[in-house]
């Protein structure tokens, strides 16, 4: 079992503290770091300088696929494969195909969002080295965490630790790579 250091996990006590910490870590120029909180904190995206999520593109692609699937499905079934007159209406018009296309737009948009989210977050992921930390369990309860990776070019064992201490971290823990 190799014990390669993965990064520093700093614990904070309040939402205000974690906000300040995130702003400071961001402005110190770190790129490979993350914040864990028990509940969503408004403005954390900006505080971490996260760009707009790319999930929207998956949603849009899913929506377009759904819309044109609905349209072409009804065209194929009612006009091409098995022409069927209903209520004296034309064999195909986008009008009556619209509700189905619209529903499929929503359905496949939702799928696009869900699977895009999973893909971008590399989910499902059954294990994370942070789970080895006893302290980290309280990230889902009442504590706030910043994790800075050693892989970040700005990372330095002493300086990063000093920065996190200065920001008011109540505890700092080194996380080891627990894989294999």
């Amino acid at each position: 079992m190799s014990a390669k250091p993965l990064g520093l996990l700093a614990q904070f006590e309040t939402a205000a503290d974690i906000m300040n910490a995130a702003l400071a870590v961001r402005d110190a120029g770190f790129k490979k770091w993350d914040v864990f909180t028990p509940f969503p904190i408004h403005g954390m995206d900006d505080a971490m300088a996260l760009p707009n999520s790319k999930v929207g593109y998956f949603t849009f692609a899913g929506g377009l696929t759904g819309f044109f699937t609905g349209m072409s499905m009804i065209w194929f079934m009612n006009k091409f494969d098995y022409p069927l007159v209903v209520g004296g209406k034309p064999l195909f018009t986008p009008l009556f195909a619209f509700p189905v296309s619209y529903e499929l737009t929503i359905l496949l948009s939702a799928f696009g969002t869900l699977f895009g989210l999973a893909l971008l977050n590399r989910l499902p992921k059954l294990h994370n080295p942070l789970f080895a930390s006893e302290r980290f369990k309280r990230a889902t309860n009442d504590k706030f965490f910043v994790f800075v990776e050693t892989a970040d070019p700005k990372f330095s064992e002493t300086e990063t630790r000093a920065l996190l201490e200065k920001l008011g971290a109540s505890a700092i823990e080194e996380i080891q790579d627990t894989k294999d």
């Binding site: 402005d27 707009n52 929207g56 009008l95 009556f96 619209f98 509700p99």
Partner: protein
């Protein structure tokens, strides 16, 4: 209330309308004299579209060569446009109080003053409509009715069964009553808000919430009734229970575009201390949401009528799929929905003045096209017919209402000074961008 000032305002409003009417009549009379053939040509196709295939309107059918009618229809179109801004502002205030919203506090005065245009200006602008309608120049059914509630329109059974609502008495009393109610409600909301500016007491917020609680129901009913009377009953045979919502959805859309423009403009002036990027984004999001909502409502109306294919309903759209009206319909489909929808899907376009600036004017144009599409085919069944009245009526009403709004806005504090949610609105989840954190703390 300062009564002399209040009478002066009404007189000023009436004078404006009078002068404009006179001036336009002169201009158009000259035009009329120059081109008698063109006008006579319109008269040839001036029969009313009729659901039942026979002339049920008697002598009351619109005649598009009548200059007063041409004015009346153009004026009604312009009036429905400015009424949109007032009605939607009322909704904006109601929803703000109902949801105890924080984000909308800095732009509340924009809405409060716009809703208060209903009195005296909205009233003054309504009077010519009531006058023209009673004179039989607007609603084809009007000459068939009298001042009683009993069915007198035996010639037209579809009118006889609706005669409780469609008669001169109900028309006048309902419209004046509804406008009176709106005026009272708008005045109350602004009154509470201005009173809170002075003492910051919570009672004003509570009063506003109470009023909003039942006001939202009264609002939806009155909007529907007013729109039925003013616009839908131009073709009284038509049935559509969602017509009121349809008008409301388009109104909100246009009004939010207007708020967006005003907010961007005042952001550099009176509202500088309170408007943050997130407020702009929120207005953009609402505008986007109503792009979808309007399309949803209008499509639903069309879809249900198309699918059911009942003659009492389809004639309304059949008329609007003839001549250039068909192109106008497609313009609404693509210009009112697809263009803004696809353009504003992204977050950044909702914040960009380069996109939203032209979009505001586009929204105004599209809403005007929408109002034209609802009103004008009754008078010009062959297709779009633009007269000089259109720009004149629209310009005059927008100028008067715009001026009145600006005057009110400048007369009071630019945002609710002591609103309980103001502090929250001034933070509005706004986080300093990279590199600014040090300055922030």
């Amino acid at each position: 209330m300062n009564f002399p000032l209040f009478f002066k305002r009404i007189l000023a409003a009436l004078a404006c309308v009078g002068i404009l009417t006179f001036a336009t009549a002169r201009v158009l009379a000259a035009e009329h004299a120059e081109a008698p053939k063109a006008v006579a040509g319109q008269a040839a196709h001036a029969e009313t579209p009729d659901a039942h295939g026979h002339d049920a309107h008697g002598h009351g059918g619109p005649d598009s060569s009548d200059i007063v009618q041409q004015f009346g229809y153009s004026y009604l179109t312009a009036f429905m446009f400015v009424l949109s801004l007032i009605v939607a502002s009322m909704f904006f205030i109601l929803i703000h109080h109902l949801f105890d919203a924080a984000w909308s506090v800095p732009v509340m005065r924009i809405a409060e003053h716009m809703a208060n245009l209903i009195f005296p200006w909205g009233f003054a602008a309504l009077l010519p409509i009531i006058g023209l309608a009673l004179a039989g120049k607007l609603h084809p059914w009007m000459p068939l009715t009298d001042w009683s509630l009993t069915p007198t329109a035996a010639a037209d059974p579809s009118l006889a069964v609706k005669s409780v609502m469609f008669n001169k008495l109900s028309f006048t009393v309902l419209l004046l009553g509804i406008f009176g109610f709106w005026a009272w409600m708008a005045r109350s909301f602004r009154g509470y808000s201005l009173a809170q500016d002075k003492d910051g007491a919570a009672i004003w917020t509570r009063k506003a919430r109470f009023l909003a609680g039942w006001g939202i129901f009264a609002f939806s009913v009155t909007v529907t009734v007013a729109v039925f009377l003013l616009m839908k009953s131009l073709q009284h045979q038509f049935f559509s229970t969602m017509y009121g919502v349809y008008y409301f959805a388009g109104s909100m859309w246009t009004t939010l575009a207007t708020y967006y423009g005003i907010t961007r403009w005042l952001q550099r002036k009176e509202l500088r201390p309170v408007i943050l990027p997130n407020h702009i984004h929120d207005l953009g999001k609402w505008f986007f949401a109503f792009t979808v909502f309007y399309a949803y409502i209008h499509f639903s109306q069309y879809f249900l009528i198309w699918n059911a294919a009942v003659p009492e309903e389809t004639f309304w759209y059949v008329l609007r799929e003839k001549g250039t009206w068909e192109h106008m319909g497609f313009l609404i489909l693509f210009g009112h929905f697809f263009l803004p929808f696809l353009l504003l899907l992204r977050i950044d376009t909702k914040m960009s003045l380069n996109v939203m600036g032209p979009m505001i004017f586009w929204a105004w144009l599209m809403h005007y096209v929408d109002m034209t599409y609802n009103v004008m085919p009754v008078l010009y069944p062959k297709g779009l017919n633009i007269t000089l009245w259109d720009p004149l009526c629209f310009g005059a009403l927008v100028a008067v209402f715009g001026w009145a709004w600006l005057k009110d806005f400048r007369a009071f504090p630019a945002w609710p000074q002591k609103h309980p949610r103001l502090k929250e609105a001034l933070v509005h989840h706004e986080i300093p961008k990279a590199g600014q954190a040090a300055a922030h703390h």
